[in-house]
């Protein structure tokens, strides 16, 4: 591929947007996974719920996804709270071995994901839906930017910054961070375990709903969309390091860049082999994630 194409702003913009999408999707998973080591396979389904909300609000009343994404976040956060209080509070408090807990949580979330996906099929039918919103082009310095893609990039950046600040400066954020770093120590320091866990659930689930609502501008909404989101989120969490929110964001961006530019060096059909190959290698050789060398946020 010609060098000028490789260095083109167009490709760079695309890579950034793809990365931003990944960051949005994976953000919340790190919180749940990091604080409680729970494998939330239903993460993608939260995004699906958010996406459907945004779609229907737009289709019926013309509500902009930028507005409905906040509503979506609230709805899925509430769902998260319900799931936590109903199921996981008890599970976490029991003195199960950590390995067992992780395994069991995986299966519970799997069950929840199956229920949600099929409920969606029953309610909405399996046909994909889409709408047209903000798809005019802006031209900046020779690069064409579709408005909705630009918005996604900007929102992802804002949210990324907000969450980073939250974890650094807010009292609850610091507590969550402490929890992620060393659960036992945090508990001994008097951190309110229940509150933190609930918060992690709410923020984690809520951010997925928000991501889904936002992404409904770019992608088709169907009951089956959740699964691929979940996979991406997990890949990101692994690459960035368990519980390392900032690392996860970096990983998301890198993943977007890898996907977009990787095509230039290998054939496009090799793309997924490349990504999963990296995923597997990271898990085998450095399960703590690529960003684990040294500082954590």
């Amino acid at each position: 591929m010609k060098l000028e194409l490789l260095l083109s702003g167009q490709l760079f913009f695309s890579a950034l947007v793809t990365g931003a999408v990944y960051v949005l999707i994976g953000l919340g998973l790190n919180l749940v996974f990091g604080t409680m080591r729970l494998l939330n396979i239903a993460h993608g389904e939260m995004a699906m719920i958010g996406a459907y909300l945004a779609y229907w609000l737009f289709a019926l009343w013309g509500v902009s996804p930028l507005v409905s994404m906040l509503l979506a976040a609230a709805v899925t956060a509430a769902f998260g709270a319900a799931v936590y209080k109903g199921i996981f509070r008890g599970l976490l408090a029991s003195n199960m071995t950590l390995v067992r807990l992780e395994a069991n949580s995986l299966l519970v979330f799997l069950g929840i994901a199956i229920i949600l996906q099929n409920a969606a099929i029953l309610i909405f039918t399996g046909s994909p839906r889409a709408y047209q919103y903000m798809d005019t082009m802006l031209h900046v310095g020779g690069v064409a930017l579709t408005q909705n893609r630009l918005i996604v990039l900007l929102v992802a950046a804002v949210i990324g910054v907000l969450i980073t600040l939250f974890l650094r400066f807010n009292i609850y954020g610091l507590a969550i961070n402490a929890f992620i770093q060393n659960r036992q120590a945090a508990m001994m320091m008097g951190v309110n375990v229940d509150k933190i866990q609930l918060m992690a659930f709410c923020v984690g689930f809520g951010s997925a709903g928000l991501a889904g609502a936002l992404l409904s501008m770019l992608e088709q909404v169907s009951p089956y969309m959740g699964f691929s989101f979940t996979i991406i989120a997990f890949v990101m969490v692994i690459l960035g390091g368990l519980g390392n929110v900032f690392g996860g964001m970096v990983a998301g961006l890198l993943l977007g860049i890898l996907e977009t530019y990787g095509v230039a060096f290998t054939s496009p059909s090799f793309q997924l082999v490349l990504i999963y190959g990296v995923f597997v290698l990271v898990l085998v050789f450095r399960p703590e994630g690529l960003a684990s060398m040294g500082r954590r946020l």
Partner: protein, 297 residues
């Protein structure tokens, strides 16, 4: 165990009934038993949950479709099993160093990686789906699969009761302690991994003759992995009779439901999964054993 033998004997008589539909149901049942029993050998005993067992099934299917027409069925089955086992051996050592949720994701990632590798290879070869022309009769396939189911059950049963089985369970309960106590943990884990790979690969070969159309996305379908885990959870994952109970139970539920209300079936499945993980961790077999204990006292 007597019940188990009776069950297999009953299944062996199904072809004599002459009802083709029942025969195909029995074939399906035998397949799930074979797959789940093999899975148990690894994940039930060692606690290393494999979420990618479909990879061995897919490998078997690929071997099957490539060899068909060139070698007789029994040879293809053996070669399929060998390839599956060899693959497990190849990646076993690095893969089994990874623990807990990382292992779960790794197995899933591996399955997807192999799927995309095969997709890439097939596309590169200009292939767009291979078919099996003139497959063996349903009866032949059924008996092969029944043999595999019996073999898998016996293998799991024998290993589970043997010293190897106790070592594997020790690994599940506390791997560090087992290691300190001098158990060659790595070799046992790899053994379980390889042993759990062979029969699913063979099952893949047999089922390929039934499907007659090889397509990577369908052969390496993650739903297979999820179904195996669900059956094991519902049936009971510490006992060789668990998968049998799980497979039959699901077969009955599915006969009643998926035929006409597929989404309801899936929702029930999800709900069952959640309930069993939360309330009946040792599955139906566990419940039955508890009842027997309670009535005995």
């Amino acid at each position: 165990m007597g019940l188990v033998a009776a069950l297999f004997a009953a299944m062996a008589f199904v072809p004599a009934l002459g009802n083709e539909y029942l025969r195909s149901v029995a074939l399906s049942l035998a397949m799930w038993i074979a797959l789940t029993e093999s899975w148990l050998l690894l994940s039930g005993l060692t606690g290393y949950l494999s979420l990618g067992h479909a990879v061995f099934y897919g490998i078997g299917a690929y071997v099957g479709v490539l060899l068909w027409g060139h070698v007789p069925l029994w040879l293809a089955v053996i070669i399929g099993g060998a390839v599956g086992g060899a693959s497990a051996l190849l990646v076993g050592f690095p893969v089994l160093r990874v623990r807990g949720p990382y292992f779960v994701m790794l197995t899933f990632g591996l399955a997807e990686l192999v799927k995309y590798l095969v997709t890439w290879i097939e596309a590169g070869l200009g292939q767009y789906g291979r078919i099996v022309v003139g497959p063996p009769s349903l009866n032949t396939l059924f008996y092969f699969m029944l043999a595999l189911a019996i073999a898998a059950t016996c293998l799991t049963h024998v290993v589970s009761r043997s010293r190897v089985g106790y070592a594997l369970r020790a690994i599940r309960e506390n791997e560090e302690a087992a290691e300190t106590a001098g158990v060659p943990v790595v070799y046992f884990k790899v053994f379980a991994f390889v042993a759990s790979a062979i029969i699913p690969s063979m099952a893949g070969v047999v089922m390929m003759m039934r499907t007659t159309f090889f397509e990577p996305a369908a052969a390496f379908d993650p739903v297979v992995s999820f179904t195996i885990i669900t059956m094991a959870m519902i049936g009971g994952r510490d006992n060789a009779s668990g998968p049998l109970v799980g497979a039959i139970f699901l077969a009955i539920v599915s006969e009643l439901l998926w035929a006409n209300w597929p989404q309801v079936y899936m929702i029930v499945l999800g709900a069952l999964l959640v309930s069993f993980v939360l309330f009946a961790r040792d599955g139906l077999v566990g419940l039955l054993l508890q009842k027997r204990k309670a009535s005995a006292t």
